[in-house]
Structures are given as C-alpha cells and as structure tokens.
Amino acid sequence: MSVETEATGHVDDTQDDVQVAPPSGRRRLFGILTLVLTPILLVMAMLYAPEDLAQGPAQRIFYIHVPSAWIGFLAFFVVFVSSIAFLATGKRKYDDTAAASAEVGVIFTTGVMITGPLWGRPVWGVYWTWDPRLTSFLMLWLIYLSYIVLRGYVPDPARRARFSAVLGIVGFFDVPIVYLSVRWWRSEHPLQLVFQRGGLPAEMLVTLLVGVATFTFMYLYLLSLRTRTGRLRERSDEEVAQ
C-alpha cells in the first residue's frame, strides 16, 4: 500500500480498501525511464541503426512500428487475463486494470495503424493491402475499439465491469481464428513476404530492443496512470451521486 505524497494529490492511497494502482514511486520510475529512453531510441533509430539497402530511410519506422505492435498485443493480453481475474474474483481492481490496458493498447495499435501505411506507401507502393497480417491487425484494433465504446455505453459500473470482461475474453479468443480465416481467405493470392527475417544486423537488433524497452516502460507508465485516473473518476462519480 502506497502513500500519495505529491503536494497536489488530495488522495491518500492508504485510505483505500482496494489499492488504487501500482505504487506511485514505481509509476514515477516508469515515467522517468520512458522520458529518458524515448530520445535515445529516436537518435538510435535515426543515426545509429544502418540504413536498409532495399527500403531506404523508410525502414527506420520499424523501430517504432514493431515495438508498438508487440506492446499492443501485450496490452490486450493483459485485458484478457484481467477480465478472467475479474469474473473469477469480482474484485474491481482487475476491471480497472483491464479498462486501462485496453485504452493504452488501442493507443499503441492506432500508432501501428498509422506508421504501417507510412512505411507501406514508399516500400510497397500502397498504403494498405489486404494481407493476412494487416487484415487481422485491423480486426484486432476494431474489436478493442468496440470494447471501449461498450464501456462508454453501460452506465452502471458493476454491469460495465462484467460486460466488458466478457467482451475482453471473447475478443481475445477471436484473434487467432481471425488470423487463420484471413490467411485462408487470401491464400489464392500469394503476396510478397512482409519481413525477410534472419540476419538482422546487430545495430538494428539493438535499436529494436531499445524500442521494445521504451514502449514497455511507456505502457507500464500509461497503464498505471490510466488505472489511477479511472479509479479517481469513479470515486468522484460516487461522491457526486451521494
């Protein structure tokens, strides 16, 4: 149990029967790490990593695009696990985590949906193609957008928590089937390989790993912040209602 020490914080976490969010000390650490790593990542992606012969400078978006996608998946996996935990225990903190993780996940996957076409246009010649990977990612993004819309449309908090947990579970189970079906759907039109893997130069790999670290800390920071904001908003709603 942590104590909120900020001068502006009116809330003392120790008064809570449920912990509001990860301790504020750890949250601050995540924030600082994100702040430090982001410029490092940008410099590494722009200067340190070698230029790709075939794709040119456009390839450098890879260091933002790929970590966002991976951490987006992680965020939705956290939604899935928290949703199960919520239905099993009924503890509100799991719903808070699921809601926050879905929001942050949608932000990251939106980043993927924006950076992907920016790369696709110079390298593929098109902004969008109905490639299995792209199509299933689009569906993933739409499922979690509907998750956020659903949360906005259920006024009763207890119901909102239960309903969104159900969607968080159904949506996650759906993703592999979407991927399978889209692959079969497109199978009659063989498409070029998205990534020719194997033999990524060390500099590129290091930059990618720094990218993953940056986005992981950014995710943890935002998750912690959103969980706390959501919790505070709920409490203020309750106080208004009283």
Binding site: V149, L150, R159, V166, I169, I177, S181
Partner: protein, 225 residues
C-alpha cells in the same frame, strides 16, 4: 427439471410468442428481402463471377436478419420485467442462454429458408447440387453468428445505445464466420464442393464450438444482478 428441458421451454415460449404476433418474421423477412433487392441494384449481380457477389449479398442479408432478430428477442424480455422473471425462475443461467439461442436460431433459419429461394430466383442462380453445401453452410454460419449474438444481445439490452451497440459488438468478432460462410456459399452457388469448402466448414465448426463454450461460461456473469 433438467437444464435441457428448461432451455426447450424457454425457446418454446419465444417461438409461441412469435407464432402469435409474427413480429420478427414479418419485419425481418421484409427487411431482408429489401436488402437483397437493394443490393441487386448496388452490385453487379449478372455475368461472370456473380456467384461471389451473390454470396456476399446473401450473408450481409443473413447477418442483418440475425442482428435484428436477436435484438428484438432480447428487447421483448426487457419489457414488463420478463428478464427478472426469467432470472427468478429455477432455470439455470446456461439454460436461459441455450433457450434464447435456440429461439434466435429458429427465427433466423426461418427467415433464411424463406429468403433463399427468392434470392436464387432474383439473382438467376442455379446452385443445383450445391444446395446441400449451401444449407450446411447456412446452418453452421448462422449458429456462429447467433451464438456470439445471443451473448452480446443480453449485454446490449442494458446499454444506452441498445440497437446501435449490438452490431458494434457482433460484427468485428464474427468476421471469421462471415469469411468462411461467404467462401463456402460461393463454392456452393457455383455448384462445386471443393476441398477448400470442407476446410471452411471445419473452421465454422471450430468457431461455433469454441464460442458456444465461451458463451456458456460467461453468460451467467452477464445475467448476474
């Protein structure tokens, strides 16, 4: 009373209500007919490759039919506290789900059976021997749509949006079924049972089974009060 007989009684109640009012079949049936007619103007439904377009139109119509029917069948429960009555009854939550699922399947299949011949005539199709495949595809595809739809309809009825929310929830999640159903129907309308069609049928079986289990496991939480 076993869970199965409770489910059958609940489904029977819905079907009897429908037999007396003919609310869903009349409105949804006409709506689906209008979708098919409008789509015939919107898409090239003659000439080469029209089976592919026709299969797409058919499943958009079926999807709309399922969505409307499921929304209506849950909205009826919301009126006059019927839902509370159902929940107070000794029937298990799983039986309520299965009962609503059976009723929704009944409505949607009924609309499909009525619309399919009209559709074949209007779009000048000749499925011939593909009719068996088409029927199988309609059975499995509709089961998939209605399984997730019945679960989500029970949620959507408690939201502010109601009618608007149900499609938002069902459509992204049901994309695999839609792809599989459209592909299988296209094969059926061209009259060929290909090995691809068998894979798609299996995918639908897998989808239906998985989400039936997920829905049975989560529905009690939706109905909790």
């Amino acid at each position: 009373m076993s869970w199965a007989s409770s489910a059958v009684i609940i489904a029977g109640k819905d079907l009897r209500l429908e037999m007396r009012t003919r609310d869903v079949i009349a409105s949804v049936g006409l709506f689906v007919l209008l979708v098919v007619v409008t789509a015939s103007f919107a898409f090239p439904t003659s000439g080469e490759g029209r089976e592919g377009v026709a299969a797409g139109v058919l499943w958009m119509a079926f999807l709309f039919a399922a969505l409307l029917g499921m929304g209506r069948s849950m909205a009826i429960e919301k009126e006059d506290g019927c839902l509370e009555g159902l929940m107070l009854s000794p029937a298990a939550r799983e039986s309520i789900f299965l009962g609503k699922l059976l009723a929704n399947l009944g409505f949607t299949w009924a609309v499909e059976v009525v619309i399919l011949p009209v559709f074949v005539v209007l779009l000048q199709l000749a499925p011939g021997s593909g009719l068996v495949l088409l029927a199988l595809c309609a059975l499995l595809g509709t089961l998939g749509l209605v399984t997730v739809g019945t679960l989500f309809a029970a949620m959507a009825v408690h939201t502010r949006g109601r009618e608007a929310i149900l499609p938002l929830l069902v459509m992204p999640v049901s994309v695999p079924v839609m792809i599989a159903a459209v592909k299988t129907s296209e094969a059926a309308l061209t009259g060929a049972w290909s090995s691809g069609a068998t894979s798609w049928l299996l995918l639908m079986v897998g989808y239906d089974a998985l989400f039936l289990l997920v829905a049975l496991a989560t529905f009690p939480h939706v109905m909790e009060e």
